[in-house]
């Protein structure tokens, strides 16, 4: 059991089988979180990430196994008071302004009277407070939704795809926000984006087909070969010694970040690019090899 300050943390998922209406989505998941860090729950769509977070938030009752915080079932009030959950849905009641929505959740969470103004200041929401939630842009809605989880300070944050459907710039802003506001906390952050996991996380919890495929420190992950295929128009002489599969010239890179560098080099060599595509899914490789 970890102990930082006076807050002991022992968040245990043991032999968890969970799902909906009697159909198991998660099958026999076991892991234990004790260290304050950002744990990225990674997996393709439909892998069971949302089900895992809902089970850990006490929303779904396990069909088998248990989810416990410091030895108490997670759906008990004493456990709930240490958790904050962000769904992939906004969850803001129809017809409310931003301030009304935040005040409502502040009351539900038992947060103090100043919590709304504090969070609005930190998340730069002051200009949005009087607007109806339905009138906001996607990015603004996400910021309001995230603001809600910081109304009351908790020890554990369960965030279900907080940057999904956001453009890269806004997603980056949200990630910085979460990084800044989650010091000394256990944060579970679900995503289907490996690059996002590397940017924000300390650990990765990979789910595949409802089973735990990997639980590891991110910096201990071995880089996989990353294959991309390039289709060209016209002059291909500079690529003469490159392996070809069908219409695609295949390049093996160490990291996805090297793609831009390769493209720039080819363009400097006078190659006209028609298409650049991933020939292998790095996420699937990650699951396959561990």
């Amino acid at each position: 059991m970890s102990d930082y300050g006076d807050k002991k943390m022992d968040f245990v998922v043991e032999n968890l089988v969970s799902g909906y209406f009697g159909n198991a989505v998660l099958k026999d998941i076991t892991f234990k979180l004790t260290e304050p860090a950002i744990y990225v729950v990674l997996g393709p769509n439909g892998a069971g990430k949302t089900t895992l977070l809902r089970s850990m938030a006490g929303i779904l009752k396990p069909m088998q196994g248990k989810v416990e915080l410091n030895g108490l079932p997670v759906n008990e009030q004493r456990s709930r008071r240490r958790l904050s959950y962000l769904s992939h849905l906004d969850g803001i009641p129809e017809g409310l302004t931003v301030i009304e929505a935040l005040k409502f959740y502040a009351k539900i969470e038992g947060a103090g009277e100043n919590s709304v103004s504090n969070v609005a200041g930190k998340l730069e929401l002051n200009e949005l407070l009087s607007k109806r939630f339905s009138q906001l842009s996607q990015g603004q809605k996400k910021r309001v939704s995230i603001a809600r989880i910081f109304l009351q300070e908790r020890d554990i944050y369960l965030l279900d795809e907080p940057t999904s459907n956001l453009d890269p710039k806004i997603a980056g802003g949200i990630r910085s926000l979460i990084l800044g506001m989650s010091k000394n906390k256990i944060v579970l952050y679900s995503s289907h984006n490996l690059y996002e996991a590397k940017e924000i996380g300390s650990y990765v919890i990979a789910i595949k087909g409802g089973k735990l495929a990997l639980f590891s420190k991110i910096n201990e992950l071995k880089p996989q070969s990353y294959l991309i295929g390039i289709r060209t128009i016209g002059n291909t002489a500079p690529m003469a010694f490159t392996r070809k599969e069908g219409d695609y010239y295949i390049y093996e890179l160490s990291y996805p970040e090297e793609v831009q560098e390769l493209i720039s080099k080819l363009m400097l060599d006078g190659i006209k690019l028609r298409e650049v595509r991933e020939m292998s899914n790095p996420l699937e490789d990650l699951f396959k090899d561990h």
Binding site: R78, R81, L83, L89, P93, G95, L96, F104, I108
Partner: protein, 491 residues
């Protein structure tokens, strides 16, 4: 007078109103969990069942053995209440606490639950049924023999109003005393169970001895007896609250801060906002009908009779339309994932259901009161005679049906929306809500047709009571049995 004085109907009505009303009020004020009603049901009726069986087996031989000695008979009654009612209240509270089903914040609600089962259910409902039966039987043409028997057994039922009112007052006072006593020992039972300190239970135990005075009721006289019982009950409650407040200092666990009243207030405001057109339709249409009927009634005597019978019958239909907004709020919040957050924050499924049902009842009240306030002057201005049968129909049919139909609509719609996956548009529970609301009305008409016209108004009352009872049962079952995933969005 060959009919009972109908003022006596006030007794069960008042007792039911304050017993059930206190539970509803406290639920929203302090957000106690509805599990409490289930556990108090078990505690109270468990104790009463054992008491009845015990008394059935022992009362006659014991009375003959003690030769009617009042103190010994008092001990007989007092000990039973002490050991069975207070004792079982504590045992069930301990069980519920061990399962983490109730907590300290439920303490007062637990006492109110015990009181509601005794006064609002065990006492008031049979009393109401008795009075309705007496009234109905005496209204039939061949009632003379029944009248003679009833007059001999209960002459007070035929007293004029000025003499009946004090008796009603004493009965109500006795039930208030019962409420205070049950709250006192129920509250302490939960405090003892939650804190694990038996001294609170030991404080509660002697409160059950209040029934020691039961055999003295006739010898003391009704005024002195009811005042004594009230003073003792009031003192019990004061002792319980003082003891309970002292226990707070050593109580380390922070209370759940979920705020059901916030949920109710916010949703009520939203409902009024999103469904104002429907609310206006619910108010304006019956007023237009009233105007139209007033005009028609001026044309013939037959038309006046039509108004007397038609207007109260159609009123619930407009209430159903006007109160549909609450169900819409439920389905909207479910779709948008609001309940996912509320459940994650520890809000109970039953609180969500309750808030929607209360909003429905609130909208029904707004529409009903608005319609009454406007239509009565319209009838008066148009010289439409408001006949006794019209008033009777409104009281016994329209008002109960307005509430029961709209509540049934919301309850059935919520259950349907929770059980179904993605049904949208006019095929959705909201789209079909008016048809759901008509069901209690159709059931009333059907049963009335079967039992005959004399009983039709009572059938409406019985169906309404049945709908309310069904709502409570469904809420309790939903809280225990309904999977939480039913409340998650399908999107």
């Amino acid at each position: 007078m060959t009919q009972i004085n109908t003022i006596y109907f006030l007794t069960p009505a008042i007792v039911m109103a304050f017993s059930v009303g206190a539970v509803i009020y406290w639920h929203f004020k302090r957000s106690f969990t509805l599990n409490v009603l289930l556990y108090t049901f078990i505690a109270y009726f468990g104790a009463i069942t054992i008491k009845y069986i015990f008394q059935y087996l022992t009362l006659v031989p014991y009375s003959s053995m003690i030769h009617g000695n009042q103190p010994l008979l008092g001990v007989y009654y007092g000990l039973q209440t002490m050991l069975l009612e207070v004792g079982l209240a504590y045992i069930i509270a301990r069980f519920a606490t061990s399962k983490d089903k109730i907590s300290r914040k439920d303490a007062t609600g637990y006492g109110l639950g015990l009181a509601m089962w005794e006064n609002g259910v065990l006492i008031a409902i049979p009393l109401m049924i008795d009075y309705l039966l007496y009234y109905t039987l005496l209204a039939s043409p061949s009632s003379s023999s029944f009248y003679i028997k009833l007059f001999a057994a209960a002459p007070a039922l035929f007293l004029p109003t000025n003499q009946a009112l004090p008796l009603i007052g004493f009965v109500v006072l006795e039930r208030i005393s019962s409420l205070l006593s049950h709250v006192a020992w129920g509250y302490l039972a939960v405090i003892a169970a939650v804190t694990g300190k038996k001294r609170y239970f030991y404080i509660a135990l002697p409160m059950g001895l209040i029934d020691f005075f039961v055999p003295y009721a006739s010898s003391m006289g009704i005024t002195a007896f009811e005042l004594l019982i009230f003073i003792l009950s009031f003192t019990s409650l004061a002792v319980a609250l003082v003891a309970g407040s002292r226990s707070k200092a050593g109580y380390a666990v922070q209370e759940n801060v979920n705020d059901s009243i916030s949920l109710f207030k916010l949703n009520f405001r939203r409902t009024v906002s999103v469904s104002k057109v429907y609310i206006l339709i619910g108010i304006i249409l019956p007023i237009l009908f009233a105007g139209e009927f007033s005009f028609i009634s001026s044309t013939s005597a037959t038309a006046r009779i039509t108004i007397s019978s038609m207007y109260p019958l159609i009123m619930p239909l407009f209430i159903i339309i006007g109160s549909m907004g609450a169900l819409w709020i439920f389905t909207s919040d479910k779709r948008k994932g609001v309940y996912e957050y509320l459940i994650a924050s520890g809000v109970e499924v039953s609180s969500v259901f309750w808030s929607i049902l209360m909003i429905t009842a609130g909208l029904a009240t707004i529409i009903l009161v608005s319609v009454m306030i406007i239509t009565i002057p319209i009838f008066a201005l148009a010289h439409v005679q408001i006949t006794p049968i019209m008033v009777e129909t409104i009281i016994f049919y329209s008002i109960p049906m307005c509430y029961s139909s709209s509540i049934f609509m919301s309850m059935a719609g919520m259950i349907w929306a929770s059980l179904s996956k993605r049904i949208t548009g006019v095929n959705s529970p909201v789209g079909l809500a008016p048809l759901l609301g008509i069901i209690p009305i159709m059931v009333t008409f059907l049963i009335s047709a079967l039992v005959g016209p004399y009983m039709s108004l009572y059938v409406a009352g019985a169906v309404s009571l049945g709908v309310f009872a069904l709502a409570v049962v469904i809420l309790i079952i939903a809280n225990i049995k309904m999977d939480r995933e039913r409340f998650l969005s399908n999107e």
